[in-house]
Amino acid sequence: MMSPLESTVLFQLGPFTITQAIVTTWVIMVVLVAGAFISTRRLALFPTKRQAALELIITTLDTQINETTGASPAPYRSFIGTLFLFILVANWSSLIPGVEPPTAGLETDAALAALVFVSVIWFGISGSGIGGYLKSFAAPNPIMIPLNILQSLTRVFSMFVRLFGNIMSGVFVVGIVASLAGLLVPIPLMALDLLTGLVQAYIFAVLAMVFITSTVEDGQRLNPKRQEN
């Protein structure tokens, strides 16, 4: 049995080493985009059941964003929603035999954490300006600047490690149990993985939202001119 910290390399594409996680990510991308395209082709004023279900997803996401941060959900909807959907589908892809979820690999989780780190900077600057964003590190007082800088790195690192540890451990445990006890024994653990995958996707998305909006709010509070504009 190979180490859970190693990825299965399929082929080499220039400098890129194409692993199974990357291919699975592409498949997930195709499935999500195709499913979204097909399901949103005929949106009408009077919704069908399918459209109502899609609108329920949007409304629930908007409600979560609003209740969590108090901010308007429109600027963050695509980012947070895609994060949640991608992580959820990636986590649940482990249910397909022979498929290793991309979130069980270091690169994917690190990439997601890096995206959250960059998005915090992006939304912080776009929301409160560069000055406001930089001032957000001085909240609540300048003494906290080193700690805030360190926190901005460690919190995304914790997200990365949390997601990786939970998903990888689930896959690893299921693999060990399957190899030791037989085919049907891991099913309860796989059901638990479903719950774990949903919870981890939710936690990741909510934490990303909280980090982004806290930075934006701190920057706007410390840079009122930007807030007025």
């Binding site: 080493t17 996680a21 990357i22 949106l43 609108e55 991608f86 690190a110």
Partner: protein, 244 residues
């Protein structure tokens, strides 16, 4: 444990591409559909509010118009009531005048009818009295009364002017002595007394007329000397009628 940073970057790009694609094929279209429905609902609500406001205004105008109609109706009713009261008063006055006139006419008619009835009753009473008197006098028709009538006849002949008496005597048709009943044996005596009163030259004819009741009358074509109870009763009756 190593991290493939090329792979990390590729996964980051993959997720960014996924975000961009889903943003264009899922998040924005569905959010736009929701926003469109909300806008439509808002516009419908606004339109319904405008319609409601319009309906409220129309209702207010209708209420005001109804109030105006009610006031006009009240005024019309008041005017009609006043007019009706005036007409009723005039009609009552006219009716009272007519009734008074009819009452006066009726009183006059009643008085006239009463007078006429009284006169008719008096006439009937007089007729009845005459008939009763005639019946009573019929019983008194005897020789004594006949002698009294004879003496009264001679006295009446004596009072006739000589010229009139001569004309009666010269009438070729003669003189008729009329009695109520036949004189019988008294006829010769009566003839003698009358001839004497007339001067003894008259052509006397005796006849009877029960209507005389009693008495002795002298009649010629141009002269009548009444001397009977019938003549007396007629005279009394005429006097009674003239008195009423």
């Amino acid at each position: 444990m190593t991290i493939d940073f090329w792979g990390l970057g590729l996964q980051a790009v993959n997720v960014l591409i996924l975000m961009w694609l889903l943003s264009h094929v899922f998040w924005r279209p569905v959010a736009a559909a929701i926003a469109k429905r909300q806008d439509t609902a808002t516009s419908l609500i606004d339109a319904s509010k405008a319609t409601q406001a319009k309906a409220d205004r129309a209702l207010e105008e209708a209420t005001q118009a109804r109030a105006g109609i009610a006031a006009e109706r009240s005024a019309t009713l008041d005017a009609a009531q006043k007019e009706a009261a005036t007409a009723t008063k005039a009609t009552l006055t006219e009716a009272r005048v007519k009734a008074d006139a009819m009452l006066a006419t009726a009183k006059t008619t009643i008085v006239q009818d009463r007078d006429a009835a009284q006169k008719a009753n008096e006439a009937q009473a007089a007729d009845l009295a005459m008939k009763i008197a005639a019946k009573l006098l019929e019983r008194l028709n005897c020789n004594a009364t006949q002698s009294a009538f004879l003496s009264q006849l001679t006295e009446a002949i004596a009072k006739i002017p000589p010229a009139d008496l001569t004309a009666v005597l010269d009438d070729p048709k003669g003189i008729e002595i009329v009695t109520a009943t036949a004189l019988g044996a008294e006829q010769s005596n009566t003839n003698k007394v009358v001839q004497t009163a007339l001067g003894g030259k008259a052509d006397l004819k005796f006849s009877t007329d029960p209507d005389l009741i009693g008495g002795l009358e002298l009649r010629s074509p141009h002269f009548v000397l009444h001397n009977s109870w019938q003549a007396d009763l007629k005279q009394i009756q005429k006097a009674v009628r003239d008195a009423t």
